[in-house]
C-alpha cells in the first residue's frame, strides 16, 4: 500500500512538473518518438496519478479508522482492486470537476507577472495551474477512496457468520 502510494505520488509529481514546465521538449531532444509519446500522454497520466493519490489516500485514512487488523486488510485489498478498475472513470470525472473555477484566476496570474516579469510569471502561472489541477483531482478522488473502503468494510462485516448471535436469536 505504501509502495503504491509512493509510485502514485512520484508519477503525479513528475508529470505535473513535466506538464507545467513543458519538459516534453527535453525528452523529445533526447529521444524524439518517446518525447512525442510523452507529450501526448503526460496530461492523461497526470490526471490518473492525481486520482490514484486521492483514492489511495482515502483508503489509507479509512483504514486508520478501523482497528480490526484482519477486516482492515481484507477491505483494503478489495478497495485497492476496485479503485484500480475505476481509476480511469474517477480520473476523468475528477478532471472535469477540477476544471470548474473556484475564483476568476486573474489575480494570481497578474501577481506573478508583476512580481517576476512576463516570461517567468507566465511560466510560474502554468506550473501553479498544473499543481492546483492535480490537487483538485486528488481532493475529489479522496471521498471515492474512503467510501470504497467503507463499502468493502460493510460487505465483509455483513457477510461474516454471526456465531453466537444467530444461535441466541433463534432460541
Amino acid at each position: 500500500m505504501g509502495r503504491l502510494t509512493f509510485v502514485a505520488l512520484l508519477l503525479g509529481a513528475v508529470f505535473t512538473l513535466s506538464y507545467g514546465t513543458g519538459a516534453h521538449i527535453a525528452v523529445r531532444y533526447l529521444n524524439p518518438p518517446f518525447g512525442a509519446w510523452w507529450n501526448s500522454n503526460e496530461f492523461a497520466i497526470l490526471e490518473c496519478a492525481a486520482a490514484a493519490i486521492g483514492m489511495l489516500s482515502g483508503i489509507r485514512i479509512g483504514a486508520r479508522l478501523v482497528n480490526d487488523a484482519a477486516l482492515k486488510n481484507r477491505a483494503m485489498i478489495a478497495a485497492v482492486i476496485v479503485s484500480a478498475l475505476l481509476l480511469p472513470i474517477v480520473g476523468r470525472i475528477g478532471a472535469q470537476i477540477a476544471r470548474f473555477k473556484f475564483t476568476n484566476g486573474a489575480s494570481v496570474n497578474e501577481l506573478l507577472i508583476d512580481r517576476f516579469r512576463y516570461d517567468t510569471g507566465m511560466f510560474l502561472d502554468k506550473l501553479l495551474a498544473a499543481g492546483v489541477y492535480s490537487i483538485k483531482i486528488a481532493m475529489f478522488a479522496l471521498p471515492f477512496g474512503m467510501i470504497l473502503f467503507g463499502l468493502a468494510i460493510a460487505i465483509f462485516m455483513t457477510s461474516e457468520p454471526a456465531r453466537d448471535t444467530a444461535a441466541a436469536t433463534s432460541k
Partner: protein, 158 residues
C-alpha cells in the same frame, strides 16, 4: 421529470433519508426500547446484529451519496465555497461512520459478553451516531442554501 439529472438527485435524496433515518431510528427508538425491554446479554446480542446490518445500510447509502453527489456537481457545473464546505463535511461524516461501524461496531460485535467496557463502547457508538446525524443535518441545510439561498448556484431542474 425523467432526466438523468432528476434521477441522480432523487437517488441522492433517498440516500440521505436512508442514512439519516437509519441512524436516528436506532439512536432514538431502538436503543431505548432495547434497554428497557431486554436484559444485558440479550440486548448485546440484538445490538450486535443491528450494528452489522445498520453498518451495511449506512455505509452503502453513504457510497450512493458520494457518487450521486459528485455527479450532481458535474450537472451544476461549478464549485462554490458553500459546496466546498459541504464536501469537507461529507469527508468528515464518512470518516466518523467508518470509525463508528468499522472500529467501535466491530469491537462490540466481537465482544465475548456484556461488560462495563462493552457498555462504554455502546454509549460511544450512540454518541458518534448522534454526531454523524447532526453533521448530515448540517449538510442538508447547506444543500438547501446551495439550491434556494441567496448564493444559489443550482439552476432549476428542467
Amino acid at each position: 421529470m425523467l432526466s438523468l439529472r432528476f434521477l441522480v438527485l432523487f437517488l441522492h435524496i433517498v440516500a440521505v433519508i436512508v442514512a439519516l433515518g437509519g441512524s436516528l431510528f436506532s439512536t432514538f427508538v431502538l436503543a431505548p426500547i432495547l434497554a428497557a425491554e431486554l436484559d444485558a446479554p440479550a440486548r448485546l446480542r440484538v445490538f450486535r446484529r443491528i450494528v452489522r446490518r445498520l453498518g451495511g445500510v449506512v455505509l452503502t447509502s453513504l457510497a450512493v451519496l458520494v457518487v450521486t453527489g459528485i455527479l450532481n456537481v458535474l450537472f451544476i457545473g461549478g464549485v462554490s465555497i458553500l459546496l466546498a464546505i459541504k464536501l469537507i463535511l461529507v469527508v468528515v461524516v464518512i470518516g466518523l461512520a467508518l470509525y463508528q461501524y468499522g472500529s467501535i461496531g466491530v469491537q462490540i460485535w466481537r465482544a465475548a459478553g456484556p461488560s462495563a467496557e462493552v457498555a462504554e463502547l455502546q454509549a460511544r457508538f450512540r454518541r458518534i451516531g448522534l454526531t454523524v446525524g447532526s453533521l448530515v443535518l448540517l449538510i442538508v441545510y447547506l444543500s438547501i442554501g446551495l439550491t434556494r439561498g441567496s448564493g444559489a448556484i443550482v439552476a432549476s431542474i428542467r
